[in-house]
Subunit: 118 residues, 2 copies
DNA sequence: CAGTATCCAAAGGGATACTG
DNA sequence: CAGTATCCCTTTGGATACTG
């Protein structure tokens, strides 16, 4: 039978793994900005996101969107227009990130005060 | 005077910048794991963190800790022992990350279910 | 113990051009 | 429009050895 210290360590490891899982998905250079852009506008096209996220290249946007799709954060829909248009939106799962994004927003504002000093 | 759309866009940009500020601090490969390690044990020495964070090298740990210190997330204290010992702990500001870490933990667990599928 | 220094391979990512 | 392909420089970070 485990003693208390061992139990706590196991719990701790589980939590660290879970946090790491989240960061693996979110810590790419542009991930959060892309998610925010799509979230804010609800539905968003490739070229629109390209404009929203200052500094990103089409290569990077393409790559990051693919990863977000694999992780079921965003859904990609090809619209039958001429020329074709592609719409990105958050999945139900992606929408659950709003809490975290809000937390990060609040913390970022506070952090700026602490580090830059008001 | 700004119209509503412009105002929303400005707000949106501010928020995206704030989120990005947070991610700049937290998105390093090992940052969250290091913060979690220190947080969990309250005070933690260099070599202990080196053991907690599976796979990290001393070079990386040193670099990441420096950045966390600059960002006032951790406090570094040299203890007058023989040989010297260095203790790391979270600052008051660093402790405010607990909410985010908890959210990320919860989301990570849920995410694993969604992507891996139970 | 708590780092620093150096070497070097691999990955990241910008610029540009091209395709369906 | 929504990407892909290629070139190529920059950054990252592991391995190893060394220092106060």
């Amino acid at each position: 039978m485990k003693n208390c210290a061992e139990f706590q360590t196991d719990e701790h490891k589980k939590k660290m793994m879970a946090v790491q899982d989240s960061m693996d998905v979110l810590s790419g250079k542009w991930k959060i900005a892309i998610i925010s852009s799509i979230c804010y506008y609800n539905k968003r096209r490739f070229s629109d996101i390209l404009n929203d996220v200052v500094g990103i290249s089409n290569k990077m946007l393409s790559k990051e969107l693919k990863e977000l799709e694999i992780n079921k954060i965003v859904k990609r829909t090809v619209l039958d227009t001429q020329p074709i248009t592609v719409q990105y939106e958050l999945t139900q799962h992606g929408l659950t990130l709003r809490t975290i994004i809000n937390n990060l927003t609040d913390w970022g504002l506070e952090h700026r005060k602490v580090v830059v000093g008001r």
